[in-house]
């Protein structure tokens, strides 16, 4: 499988704290990779480094053959992200936000693209509504629409369904799966919902204390490690990382 993202020996140290400790992995086209782990495991730090908003201490990040460190703008042209902690400015309307970010990502035929996304994410009634007054579900749909503006080859999703009810979360998962099926994008997805991960991810990486402890197919990984479910495996990783290979 061709790689859309290659992370090689990536580390981030804050003085004497090691947030990410020499991790290597890749994401292929049309592949959804789950980045799992307890709070503080280094998932968001990894995503921030891939987005170019956090400088790695060492290692390299290559997006479609372009190293992000010397060629940040080129590497990020076909990348986008959605995170629950990065809502779009609430003082602009849905259309205005998509227009501004569409220009930032250099989207061609922008107005048609915005129209299509408003329809796809059922945001047409909110076109001229200020984003600050949208519900959590509507804001998540808008953030996803922004994330798909430039038809990214690499889509980073940091807990995209964290604040949603089960029905809304299912809708969002369906939209993301549709994106992966239709385009050639690869997705790096973090989530604490193991049922969701099992449903959508082709491969998962378990992160603990900044290291990748386990990697594999989410449908078989739990049984390979003597656990009944992915959730049980997650809890083991969070509580007893040493037993699973950390240190």
């Amino acid at each position: 499988m061709e790689k859309v993202l290659s992370v090689v020996q990536l580390s981030k140290h804050y003085r004497d704290i090691i947030a990410v400790d020499g991790i290597s992995f890749h994401v292929g086209h049309n592949e959804i990779v789950g980045l799992l782990g307890p709070n503080g495991a280094g998932k968001t730090t990894t995503i921030n480094m891939i987005l170019g908003v956090l400088q790695p201490t060492s290692g390299s990040i290559i997006i479609e053959g372009v190293n992000i460190q010397p060629h940040r703008s080129r590497a990020l042209k076909n990348t986008n992200f959605q995170a629950v902690y990065a809502p779009l400015p609430g003082n602009l309307t849905v259309f205005e936000n998509l227009h501004v970010f569409g220009l930032l990502y250099g989207v061609r035929n922008l107005r048609e693209r915005i129209g299509a996304l408003l329809k796809q994410f059922e945001l047409e009634p909110f076109r001229n509504v200020k984003c600050g007054v949208l519900s959590s579900g509507e804001q998540t749909r808008l953030s996803l629409a922004k994330a798909m503006l430039n038809r990214p080859h690499l889509l980073l999703l940091d807990e995209p369904t964290a604040s949603l009810d089960p029905a809304a979360a299912r809708e969002i998962r369906a939209k993301i799966l549709e994106f992966v099926a239709q385009d050639t994008g690869g997705v790096l997805w973090t989530s604490h919902n193991m049922y969701e991960v099992e449903e959508v991810c082709d491969r998962v990486l378990f992160l603990s204390h900044g290291r990748i402890l386990l990697a594999g197919n989410p449908k078989t990984l739990a049984h390979e490690h003597g656990k009944k479910s992915l959730e049980e495996l997650f809890i083991s990783v969070a509580r007893e990382p040493l037993a699973l290979g950390a240190g």
Binding site: T44, G52, V100, F101, L104
Partner: protein
Amino acid sequence: MHFNRTAAIVLRQYYLIRGSLSRVLPLFVWVAVDMVLWGFITRYLNTMAPSGFDFIPMLLGAVLLWDFLVRVMQGVTIAFFEDVWSRNFLNIFATPLSIAEYLIGLVLSSIATSLVGLIVMLVLATTLFGLSFFSYGIVLVPFLLVLFLFGIALGIFSSAVVLRLGPASEWFIWPIPALISPFAGVFYPLATLPGWMIYISYLLPPSYVFEGLRTIISGGIVSVSTLLWGGCLAVFYILLACWFFARMHAHAVHTGLIARYSAETVS
């Protein structure tokens, strides 16, 4: 350099301003108040002056030019603060936008917003108080240019300070013009100042403008080399401010502050 990305920063500012009275009014209300206040003060001073000396071009003209510099600076900083206030750094700096494109976007926004203030000031000063800018001659153009360039430099420097120190450090930024004005000799000749202050004045481009303004009003000729020096100094400060902003951004990317900006510090 991609024009689209720079245009996005300007467009964002346009969208914010067009839908918000609280953003439209400050573009011209405070400078209008300044013009009216100083207009009446100069009119009163004219009645007191025994020799029939006209204070309007000296005082009201100086206030207008100084307010223009402040508007230019605030045009840059407020466009930057919009990202601070809406906690937008992660979204905006995770795009392909480069620092140069971002800063040019802030500067273009400032040109548009400061022009509104300048036009309002010119209209009020000429129609209400009879200030004639033709009396300054063509030299008014380089005067405005030097002040514009220095205002841009101050705006970029101020934005860098807030990027480094966090949202609460906004407080440091607003008094900067007031701190500079005594050294710039806005209302009095530099010779009035003590020696150590004059040395600082020589480093400030506006001081060459206001000295030049007084020279013209008293019938003298402004030396081209003096104005050129003021302009060169202003360009130097812009380059310095851009370098400083790039350093502060690099620091924020190194420490992770961009992603956790509301925390103000990551240490």
